[in-house]
């Protein structure tokens, strides 16, 4: 059963100090699929997402129990190299956070530290390819040396996606990538997710039910740190098995 | 003592400590020496006061200890013994000239005329054994004006202070026959009564090499300062000397030892270092060259020793005769 899944989380619990923020969650993430995490604020979506590439290591009080495997390899095993893990499991954040460097350098940074491109021509290629995939190339190709922070919010977010893509990851985690964007920019990103799905396993946290319905194939509904329901998106939205899910989706609370 | 002197326990620069009174003369010689002898490094002169300097000088031989001590008075027997004890056996004693310990006042001052007794009674802690209650000079001597006693003078670490005690206070004290007698019966008590300076604010300890005393006097025309004659000579525009026992401090009265504050000044050189420190002998020679009446030290306020003494000391410098310490007190 495990062989088909890109990432497998089993009985994962996360603690902040003594407080349990995630309680025994099991989820699989598949390639060429978009998985959406939804749930009311504070239910632990971000927390769980960050366990998938060990970004929670940066919070000193956070502690993870259970196992998470990437291609069958336990990412919390002692021999695991976090740096490589994060190169394979990329992340895009809620607020666009380009480096205050040129657009080119923003994209080239990852390939450079991972040694993915030998020489300038190859790097140029990688940068162009990533920006193209992120649907940003045409808008910035004439000003690659401009600062990444000079772009508009939506462009910045796409730049961040290009940056994540550039290190050739296998999984991309996105934590409410559109919540700081206007509707037009949001639409662009959603379209982009749609296109990217063919090459990566994508996990997206969103507050926006419609967005989850639009972009994802599978949806996980979290509530108070537990996974209430996980399944095909179409099913969750049209025919939720749990009462709570239904209440949430119909806007009864949250 | 290899650690203190730099590489390999050797030093190639003369180090001098000691009296603040002699400091300007020695540093002038050092400067000239450096200018005339490009092969040697210019000596480093630190002004520490005669007493502290003696302590440093006598602490031992080696690169970590100074080569020369400036002294505004002769070495004491006790100091000589201290030196001997610490292995500083050979010492060359050179008298470089004379300085007047001058009492001065502002040109706007009351034109005081004092005796050694007046001074003693004004600033001793226990004049003739009784606590000092004098507030004004009139309390000391009815002939003097009724202005508050305020004397700026050297601090207790300095040789100038020792000279003040020896040349003025002690003499003033001994004007009293009882004290003369006490000196024989109880020397310690005598010293205490005769040389201890009051600490109730009438005598203000001022820094050692302190040009500011002159400025303070200009600002406090009623106060009196005790400092080296060279300071007086340099600042005649602002201050003037106070006559003691009717004698004004001038070049002649000091050179002739008629002014009570006149005192000889010395440098002491470590014999053991003479061969080890490059330039030390040459420096001494330069000193001997400089202390003549027409020499450049005279211009800085040094009063040349009488010819005979100069000749004797020039010979000491040339032959590097070591002192015996026999005639020290």
């Amino acid at each position: 059963m495990t062989t088909n899944h890109k990432m497998i989380a089993r009985d994962v619990s996360v603690f902040y100090g003594d407080k349990k923020a995630i309680d025994s969650v099991s989820i699989d993430v598949d390639m060429e699929n978009v998985t959406a995490f939804i749930g009311p604020s504070g239910c632990g979506k971000s927390t769980f997402l960050r366990t998938l590439n060990r970004m929670n290591d940066t919070i000193s009080i956070a502690r993870v129990e259970g196992t998470i495997e990437l291609d069958g390899e336990d990412i919390y095993a002692s021999g695991m190299d976090v740096v490589q893990l994060r190169a394979r499991v990329g992340m895009v954040f809620q607020k666009p956070n380009p480096f205050p460097k040129s657009i080119y350098e923003n994209v080239a940074y990852g390939p450079r530290i991972h040694g993915l491109a030998a020489g300038k021509p190859e790097m140029d290629q990688v940068v162009e390819k990533s920006l193209r995939r992120a649907g940003l190339w045409d808008e910035v190709k004439d000003r690659l040396q401009d600062s990444g922070t000079a772009l508009s919010g939506g462009q910045q977010q796409r730049l961040c996606i290009a940056r994540a893509i550039a290190v050739d990851p296998e999984v991309i985690l996105m934590d409410e990538p559109c919540s700081a964007l206007d509707p037009i920019a949001t639409a662009k990103i959603e379209e982009l997710i749609h296109e990217l799905r063919g090459r990566y396993a994508i996990v997206i946290v969103t507050h926006n039910m419609q967005q989850a319905a639009r972009v994802s194939q599978r949806t996980a509904f979290f509530h108070l740190g537990t996974l209430v329901e996980y399944g095909e998106t179409s099913e969750i939205f049209t025919n939720p098995r749990q009462e709570k899910t239904k209440d949430y989706i119909t806007g009864r609370y949250g | 003592d290899p650690a203190t002197g730099g590489a390999g326990g050797a030093r190639d620069q003369v180090k001098i400590v000691g009296s603040s009174t002699v400091y300007p003369f020695t540093s002038a010689v050092a400067e000239t020496f450096g200018r005339n002898n490009p092969g040697f490094k210019t000596p480093v002169v630190e002004s520490t006061g005669t007493g502290s300097g003696m302590k440093l000088f006598c602490a031992g031989v080696g690169a970590g200890h100074p080569d020369i001590e400036n002294a505004s008075r002769r070495m004491k027997k006790s100091e000589f013994e201290d030196c001997q004890k610490n292995g500083v056996k050979d010492i060359v004693e050179v008298q470089v000239g004379i300085d007047g310990l001058a009492l001065i006042e502002s040109n706007a001052g009351p034109k005081m005329n004092l005796t050694v007794e007046d001074v003693y009674k004004a600033i001793a802690a226990n004049p003739y054994g009784k606590p000092n209650a004098a507030k004004t000079w009139k309390d000391v001597n009815p002939a003097l004006p009724a202005i508050a006693i305020k004397v700026f003078g050297p601090p207790s670490t300095s040789g100038t202070r020792d000279s003040l005690a020896e040349l003025i206070l002690d003499k003033g004290c001994n004007k009293n026959p009882e004290m003369e007698a006490l000196k024989k019966s109880d020397a310690d008590k005598h010293k205490d009564i005769c040389t201890k300076v009051r600490e109730d604010g009438a005598y203000v300890e001022s820094g050692e090499n302190d040009n500011l005393i002159v400025q303070k006097l200009t600002a406090n025309p009623d106060a009196i300062g005790v400092l080296g004659y060279s300071f007086l000579e340099e600042n005649l525009k602002d201050v003037r000397g106070i006559a003691i026992n009717g004698v004004e401090p001038t070049y002649e009265t000091i050179a002739g030892f008629t002014y009570p504050g006149a005192r000889a000044m010395f440098i002491y050189v470590k014999g053991a270092h003479l061969t080890a420190i490059p330039g030390l002998k040459e420096f001494l020679a330069e000193y001997a060259n400089a202390w003549t009446p027409g020499g450049y030290l005279a211009k800085r306020g040094l009063i040349a020793s009488p010819d005979a003494i100069r000749a004797k000391n020039a010979e000491i410098v040339q032959k590097l005769t070591m002192m015996t310490g026999a005639d020290l007190s």
């Binding site: 530290i113 | 290899p2 050797a10 520490t48 305020k150 020896e166």
Partner: protein
């Protein structure tokens, strides 16, 4: 071979090994996913380079400190050294000159013997130089060889190198603790010796200060009383009272004016100008106080009929110190006022209060804890200030309330007790350390309290 040459050789080897390890690592097959080489080539380069240089340099450092001893021993063992002067210092002088001749630093000789010893020196230097060079090179090559064998695709060079970087960071931050220990240790040690000679009670509560212990048995005029109360009073009088009387109103009102009234353009200019006051070195203030302010104040005092005014009055030092502290107080007050939420100000203005009423009745009371904390910090700085009081305050330890009289301070006395007299045995010198200890403890406490107050207050509005 000279140490410098070896040093450069080692650094050169390090560079070569860095380049070659890097090249070797860059030929690793670029896999995908977990088959990727763990570290970038340059990390392999650093790994090998550090292995080549660090052990060799450590050895070199040790060798540099022991080899001169070995060399002079070797020279002393030669027959030529037999008739060296017995006196240690002179011998050392000859030896060092011989070495200077041998290394070509000088030609002419001050000591005749030096020239004859020079050849022996030259051989010894050569000999030990070769030994040192050989060992260093062996270490460098051994380190390099060891590290080079590790350069493989899956070797975690980056982790190793980064661990070293972290070590360096940790050591850097430990230096602060070492310094604190150093300060405390040296102060306590010397003070303890002082308190063996003078009772702490007398020191802390005695009113008679006259540190005239004889440094020679027969020195005159030395009663030696070490009651520091008058110094503490002088310090407080100048630093905490007079200086603050100048600095608090001027600093506070400047801050109020600049934050509440001044146009932004004025503020942009005036604030840095005020900061300049804090940038003027204290020796300049001291000179200014002693030469300009003090005489003027004395003249003034005489004019108003205070005849015994001193030209080194507490007032002169205090005023100038106060001016120095102004920017300090004003920037602390500035911060505190800025930390009061804008809504307080709006609230008051909307009631129809004038700006000054708003400032006096709402902003300043609300900012008070911060201002007080700032003032405490300013006091701690003022009582630790040295040059102004050394140059402009007196040496007389007076317990007086008269600002035109001369008082002395803790820092002045430390300087007086220590400059010139470097011997470490008399109570007089050691008293400086006891005073330093008191000063340290007091400023420490003031700072701790002040920082607490400020911090707590900041949190209240965050």
């Amino acid at each position: 071979m000279s140490l410098l040459a070896i040093l450069f050789l080692v650094l050169g080897l390090g560079l070569i090994s860095w380049i070659s390890a890097r090249m070797r690592a860059s030929r690793f097959v670029r896999g995908v996913g977990s088959d990727r080489p763990h570290s970038l080539p340059s990390y392999h380069g650093w790994y090998v380079g550090l292995w080549v240089t660090i052990p060799a340099l450590l050895f070199l450092a040790v060798w540099a400190s022991v080899s001169p001893g070995l060399i002079s021993q070797a020279v002393l063992a030669t027959p030529g050294a037999a008739n060296l002067p017995a006196f240690g210092m002179e011998r050392a002088a000859v030896l060092s000159e011989a070495r200077a001749i041998a290394t070509g630093a000088v030609h002419g000789g001050f000591h005749a013997q030096a020239a004859s010893l020079a050849p022996a020196y030259r051989t010894a230097i050569m000999h030990y130089g070769l030994i040192g060079a050989a060992v260093t090179l062996i270490l460098a090559f051994a380190g390099g060889a060891f590290a080079f064998t590790k350069v493989r695709s899956d070797f975690r060079a980056r982790t190793r190198v980064e661990r070293l970087v972290m070590g360096a960071l940790l050591i850097a931050s430990l230096i602060a603790i070492l310094t604190t220990i150093g300060i405390f240790g040296s102060l306590v040690f010397e003070s303890w010796r002082f308190f063996n000679m003078v009772s702490p009670l007398e020191f802390l509560f005695g009113t008679q200060w006259s540190p005239q212990t004889a440094i020679r048995a027969d020195q005159v005029g030395s009663s030696g009383a070490f009651g520091a109360v008058a110094l503490f009073w002088g310090t407080i009088f100048i630093g905490a009272i007079i200086a603050m009387i100048v600095a608090i109103p001027l600093g506070l009102m400047s801050a109020v004016y600049l934050t509440q009234y001044a146009k932004p353009s004025t503020r942009r200019w005036v604030k840095p100008i005020l900061e300049i006051l804090a940038g003027v070195p204290t020796v300049v203030y001291g000179y200014f106080a002693a030469l300009t302010v003090a005489p003027a104040l004395r003249d003034f005092a005489v004019m108003i009929g205070i005849s015994n005014a001193s030209s080194e009055s507490a007032l002169a030092a205090g005023i100038v110190m106060g001016v120095m502290i102004i920017p300090f107080v004003s920037s602390m007050a500035d911060d505190s006022i800025a930390a009061v939420p804008q809504s307080m100000r709006d609230g008051s203005l909307a009631m129809g209060a004038t700006p000054s009423e708003t400032i006096r009745k709402v902003l300043l009371p609300a900012a008070l804890p911060g201002v007080v904390g700032g003032v405490l910090l300013a006091v701690s700085r003022a009582i630790g200030e040295t040059m102004i009081v050394v140059m402009a305050a007196g040496l007389a330890a007076n317990l007086t309330l008269n600002p035109f009289a001369s008082v002395t301070t803790v820092t002045t006395q430390i300087v007086q007790l220590l400059t010139g007299d470097q011997e470490f045995e008399s109570a007089k010198t050691l008293a400086a350390f006891a005073l330093g200890l008191v000063l340290f403890i007091v400023t420490l406490l003031l700072n701790i309290v002040a920082l607490r107050v400020v911090k707590k207050y900041r949190e209240a509005y965050d």
